[in-house]
Symmetry: C2
């Protein structure tokens, strides 16, 4: 596990400035909340949380990318989320005594901010506007899950792969002359598990997309989107 450490760069404040959750607060309130926050760092591959562990904090990703996953009955790893900078998780355990229902693993060096259940409780009771912001963020998360859910329900695998690529382009991409460069946070196997398809099927789809000129695989961790319009058509967003 990562060691507890205070962030000397930001005096414990930088993270909450970056988090939309707290964007509505005044400088003074931010300062107060910042004093509650703990920081931790994790190396790539380390587990932030294990399934069944009891947790008592809201976790905010300050830097890096993590995956939240479970194992299916068949032993396959099912990725539920990828969280990156500014995202938070653990909210479902804050007002219940549920144990963690998934594992969370660092996919890169990761820095997180922790706000314990009791501290967050205090913040919410004294700052209802933060509660409203949190409700709003949870609403967004639900809306996003509804989209994912719908795309899982799509039987057409081409559409699902296209959707994933577009999603990744938005979240992990940077613009470049020939098209958006996606810096993939997970392996082909990870992507296949995320979509609930076989690794080989994903490879074949990516090869086909490349043959058709929709994408170009620069190296194993980098894909360039050459024709996002066609991807959008495939994804059914036309």
């Amino acid at each position: 596990m990562g060691s507890l450490q205070y962030c000397e760069h930001c005096g414990n404040r930088l993270c909450i400035y970056r988090v939309p959750l707290f964007s509505s607060l005044s400088e003074e309130n931010l300062h107060q909340i910042a004093s509650y926050i703990q920081h931790r760092s994790f190396e790539k591959g380390e587990l932030l949380i294990s399934e069944g562990e009891s947790t008592d904090s809201l976790v905010i990703i300050h830097q890096g990318v993590v995956k939240a996953f479970r194992y299916t009955a068949a032993g396959r790893e099912q990725i539920l989320y990828l969280f990156s900078e500014g995202d938070f998780f653990g909210e479902q355990y804050l007002f219940s005594n549920l144990k963690a229902t998934y594992n969370v693993e660092a996919l890169s060096p990761v820095k997180i901010c922790l706000l314990t259940k009791s501290h967050l409780h205090k913040v919410l009771l004294t700052h209802p506007e933060v509660a409203i912001k949190l409700i709003s963020e949870l609403g967004k998360r639900i809306a996003q899950m509804e989209n994912t859910f719908q795309s899982m329900g799509i039987r057409d695998v081409d559409a699902r792969v296209a959707t994933l690529l577009l999603d990744f382009a938005e979240r992990y991409g940077r613009e470049a002359p020939g098209g958006t460069l996606i810096n993939l946070p997970i392996s082909r196997e990870g992507m296949a598990n995320y979509l609930g398809i076989a690794r080989e099927t994903l490879s074949r789809k990516l090869s086909k997309f490349e043959d058709d000129g929709l994408i170009q695989s620069l190296d194993l961790k980098t894909i360039q989107v050459k024709d996002s319009d066609s991807l959008e058509d495939l994804a059914g967003l036309s």
Copy 2:
């Protein structure tokens, strides 16, 4: 659309008494909130909300069952949720200006309670404990969606059908001598769409489960669970 009408049985209060969301409130506070609430009724088949419509209220189901759905690019109806008594929806539109992202249709005669954006806002600002309750309920909803999400990722269709039957047994079932009787809220086609599989495939799975003695189809709207242990094994909950 259903006509606006006040509920003469409960003096506008019964619904919020039933909703876990407001269970932490005092009699006095409940009374205050009750005065904000509007009631509507819908016949089976009526649309409560259409995709793209702008909504400004939290909807609480007082009686009946509704389905929330979208159409896929292929024109298939994808059911996202079934909501019944005590459930609420519309929370994602409360603090954003998003249009409705799904349609909601009554599957039976339905009575709903409406609390507008501005009224709910007022309640949340003055009763932070309701905000915390709402956050908690949204957390539960997310946890539930994660489960659904995982079961969608399962490639084994038997497991998904078994999961659906167990879920329905819990939500729409009543205990009976030979096993839980499920009063199905949706047709075979609806169930198939919910799972993202073909209607015929669902029929075949149900027939197989019946041959194997796991369930018994009493009539088209009623299934009896004869061997829930085996269903749980299939669902991978062992």
